[in-house]
Amino acid sequence: MSMVNPLAKARGLGSAKSGVHHWYAQRASALLLLFLVGWLIFSMFQLAGAEYIQARAFLSSPYNAAFMILLLISLFYHGMLGLQVVIEDYVHRPGLEIVLHFLTRAGAFSGMAIGIVYVLKLALGA
């Protein structure tokens, strides 16, 4: 049992350095998504009622494929950070909390991987 209070222990040790990383990453991905979801909405208007051939041609074009991959990475990353905060705020059973954090991350990275592979498969014509 230490008689020193936590503040006194921390004082003079400097900042933990990574304290704002989550906050910053959430906003940086939000800013990227602002443009990428804008592109998605624009594309939705273009592709409304599209036949299969048009949808395929759309995703196969290099710029659309690149934007879609950027969107998938930013979207799943931003969603992962957001779900993490929601779990931290509302789930207070330690075991369940760890499981949900794991599933959130596993799901986000799986979503990115599956999406990127399928977009590349179309774009590269494999």
Binding site: L31, G82, G111, G115, L122
Partner: protein, 117 residues
């Protein structure tokens, strides 16, 4: 925020809606975007199947919910980013931007629903 002393306010309702739409987009919206990409990969039949699902009433309702959530989270996200720069934090501007976000969400959702549903 729920209790005998809580009075619903635009600001707090929009705050919890931002979270709710974020969770919904993460666990339903993003996977459906993946479904669309996979369907385009799997050929005309798979694509027709997915389009068919979104033509039924369950699919239409789901798509409407996703469009609303996407537009709300996008526009309200801009409001949050403005706040993060230290601007528009006064109660009056928080409300004005709040109403602007709601109006924009309704208009954008109607426009997208008009062409997609």
């Amino acid at each position: 925020m729920i209790g005998p002393y809580y009075r619903p306010q635009l600001t707090s309702i929009m705050s919890i809606t931002h979270r709710a739409t974020g969770v919904f987009l993460s666990i339903v919206g993003a996977p459906l975007l993946l479904c669309w990409i996979i369907a385009v990969n799997n050929g005309p039949q798979a694509y027709a199947g997915l389009v068919g699902f979104f033509e039924g009433w369950i699919g239409k309702l789901l798509l409407l919910a996703i469009l609303f959530s996407m537009n709300f989270h996008l526009l309200n996200g801009i409001r949050h980013l403005i706040w993060d720069t230290g601007r528009a934090l006064e109660i009056k501007s928080a409300y004005a931007l709040g109403w602007a976000v709601l109006g924009g969400t309704v208009l954008l959702t109607l426009a997208l629903a008009g062409v997609l549903l």
